[in-house]
């Protein structure tokens, strides 16, 4: 598995590099470290969400509610911040993660205990959570001047030259790698998606593992709720509308198989970065932003076709050809 994935990650890294160089060749400065750091910073939220989604997809499920979860947690913490500017930001972040966890757990419970297909569950909660944002806010926007300075300052504060937002993404990547590679839960994600039936025989509780994946995805979405709202210094009902599809697309481009059990942290990160580079390169390259949608659609199709080709097994070979005589 690792061999194949490594090569797939290599190809994806190559594609990203080629893309960067292509833009750089026509528009000096795109590949400058400062700009690349900005691209990474801009993609941080997508990376974090893609890592959560990856856990879910590994277990053969899908979480379409992440963007709605993000919007709801973002709105709740922004509202709290506006109402009680005195609340420490740390507490609000914990609250965002906590609320995200609860929303993820709700998905997870429906999948685990009631055995409802994940796509149906999260399609339902996608509309419910998004609707709740409206109910919570009464449709009002929370604007930057209503937020406390510390609330909006945290993600853009720089540390060793990088904004805190980027550092959060880096930390999440590291933790995700640790979780996936080195903990039993991480391995359980693969087993559950790779062969749910066999997972039961190995003592893995398939339902519980899926639940945990949804909780993880929810918690990260909650974290992103705070990050998004404070970064753009605005909260409203349609925050990150339709972003769940970008997240799924990042995973797919990163080689995480929708059939479960296949994928890696590196793949998810690279998939997100690929989309991030395209998004940032278009305005710089002077391509009309109206092209962006079609380009990312084409990228998804090409990536999935490519991954399927890489995954296709050579098939066992019964015939032992005698090369020498030929």
């Amino acid at each position: 598995m690792t061999r194949l994935l490594k090569s797939r990650e290599l190809v994806l890294s190559g594609a990203i590099l080629a893309l960067i160089l292509l833009v750089e060749s026509r528009f000096r400065g795109f590949a400058a470290p400062g700009n690349l750091a900005a691209v990474f910073n801009d993609t941080s939220v997508l990376i974090i969400l893609a890592l959560g989604q990856m856990a879910v997809i590994l277990t053969k499920c899908i979480d379409l509610s992440v963007a709605a979860n993000l919007a709801l947690t973002g709105m709740v913490v922004a509202t709290l911040n506006a109402a009680m500017p005195g609340l420490p930001v740390g507490l609000l972040i914990l609250l965002a993660i906590g609320l995200g966890l609860v929303l993820g757990a709700f998905n997870g419970l429906l999948v685990w205990l009631l055995d409802i297909p994940p796509i149906v569950v999260t399609l339902g909660t996608l509309t419910i959570y998004r609707g709740l944002v409206f109910v919570v806010s009464g449709g009002e926007w929370i604007n930057s001047f209503e937020m406390s300075a510390s609330f909006t300052a945290l993600p853009r504060a720089t540390l060793l030259g990088l904004p805190v937002l980027s550092w959060v993404a880096i930390a999440v990547i590291a933790l995700a790698w640790l979780l996936i590679r080195l903990t039993p839960l991480g391995r359980a994600f693969y087993a559950t998606g790779g062969n749910p039936h066999a997972a039961v025989y190995t003592g893995i509780d398939v339902g519980r593992t899926r639940f945990m994946a949804f909780v993880l995805s929810g918690g990260l979405a909650g974290l992103c709720g705070y990050l998004w709202v404070s970064r753009y210094a605005v909260a409203y009902t349609d925050v990150a509308l339709g972003f769940e599809l970008d997240v799924v697309a990042a995973c797919v481009i990163g080689g995480i198989s929708i059939a479960g059990g296949v994928g890696s942290v590196g793949g998810a990160v690279l998939g997100a970065l690929f989309l991030g580079v395209i998004k940032n390169a278009l305005p710089v390259a002077g391509i009309s932003p109206f092209w962006q949608l079609a380009i990312s659609g084409a990228a998804i199709i090409i990536a999935v076709a490519f991954n399927a080709r890489a995954e296709r097994r050579p098939g066992r070979v019964i015939l032992k050809r005698k090369e020498a005589t030929a």
């Binding site: 009631l114 409802i116 998004r130 449709g139 079609a294 990228a299």
Partner: protein, 338 residues
């Protein structure tokens, strides 16, 4: 001692009855009945909540809330029963509407516009179908890609512009009436419900759709041309999206690339609420018809109370999960008690 399988060749064959449970008994336990009850309850609640609900003209206006989506939902139901899905339908609407608007610039008349709309739908369906059946790619991912691609092409063509000025004759699809309060769209909806109902439940093709959804490998090993059936379903879905694009464009009288944004999820919701198993292999057109009516009535009823659309969607989401969850919760509780 009980008879053992297979040991009694040569003895008198046993007579196997066709069915043990009658059709009525089955109907009484069905998902459709549950939906019908929900629908009646919502109808009653709406009539009580708003004095404006029970009016033929108002109900006729309300049908626009679901007719176009339901046209696609019928084809989508077949596709989902066969174990595939098409999330690009709203993208197809945008693209088909755009090509129609483009043709309009070159003076195409109503018949030509209709052909172009349907043709674009078919082509998009053909692309999806080819990627899925020829290259063996998972349809959920392929159609997430083509969803962006199709709508993206509309954005490339239109940008921030719009096509408008459709011919007067073209308005008949989305704004015309067949008779009294029966709109053209409602008539199309009813005709399609009948056609798709017969296609799915009374034809060889429909049987093959169910078989494929249950076990595609065994279907192929039984001589069913799986790839062909799936290809036809993708084409059919594309065609219906093209038809919906004609109706919607005609109703709006203009084309923007953002047309029908987010419809794919509403259509899938409609299909699943109609009792079609998202895992494939089970479902009925009657269920989808009932789900369309229920969803239309919920949105219209709440609209009359000036409830914002997004709050309605909470109801739809809760309905989707609730209708599936409640029977399971009861079963779970019963098992716990026992």
């Amino acid at each position: 001692m009980s008879t053992r399988p297979g040991l009694d060749i040569g003895t008198r064959p046993r007579h196997l009855p066709d069915r043990l449970t009658g059709r009525v008994a089955r109907a009484l336990r069905s998902w459709e009945l549950l939906l019908l009850l929900v629908g009646i309850a919502i109808f009653a609640a709406n009539s009580m909540a708003s004095p404006y609900f029970l009016s033929a003209w108002n109900l006729s206006d309300a049908t626009f809330n679901f007719t176009e989506k339901a046209m696609i939902a019928f084809a989508m139901a077949l596709l989902i029963i066969s174990g595939e899905i098409d999330l690009s339908v709203a993208g197809i609407i945008a693209l088909a509407s755009t090509t129609m608007g483009f043709a309009l610039q070159y003076g195409a008349g109503t018949p030509m516009l209709v052909l172009i709309g349907l043709g674009t739908g078919l082509l998009c369906g053909a692309l999806n179908g080819t990627l899925v059946t020829r290259m063996g790619l998972p349809s959920i991912v392929v159609t997430i890609g083509t969803m962006s691609l199709f709508r993206g092409i509309s954005y490339i063509v239109l940008g921030d512009q719009a096509f408008s000025g459709y011919p007067v004759g073209f308005a008949v699809f989305g704004q015309g009436y067949v008779a009294w309060v029966i709109t053209v769209e409602l008539a199309i909806f009813a005709a399609l419900a009948l056609i798709f109902g017969v296609l799915l439940h009374a034809t060889k093709f429909g049987r093959q759709v169910f078989v494929i959804g249950n076990n595609p490998t065994a279907a192929a090993f039984s001589g069913v041309r799986v790839a062909r059936v799936k290809m036809i379903l993708f084409l059919l879905t594309g065609l219906m999206a093209g038809l919906a694009a004609i109706c919607l464009t005609s109703r709006l009288g203009s084309t923007r690339p953002s047309i029908a944004q987010g419809w794919e999820l509403e259509i899938v919701t409609m299909v699943v609420l109609g009792g079609v198993s998202i895992l494939g292999g089970a479902g009925s057109i009657l269920g989808v018809v009932l789900a369309a009516l229920v969803m239309g009535m919920v949105t219209f009823g709440l609209g009359l109370l000036n409830v914002p659309g997004i709050v309605m969607s909470i109801f739809i989401g809760a309905l989707l999960i609730g209708v599936i969850a409640i029977p399971r919760l009861i079963a779970l509780a019963r098992r716990r008690a026992a």
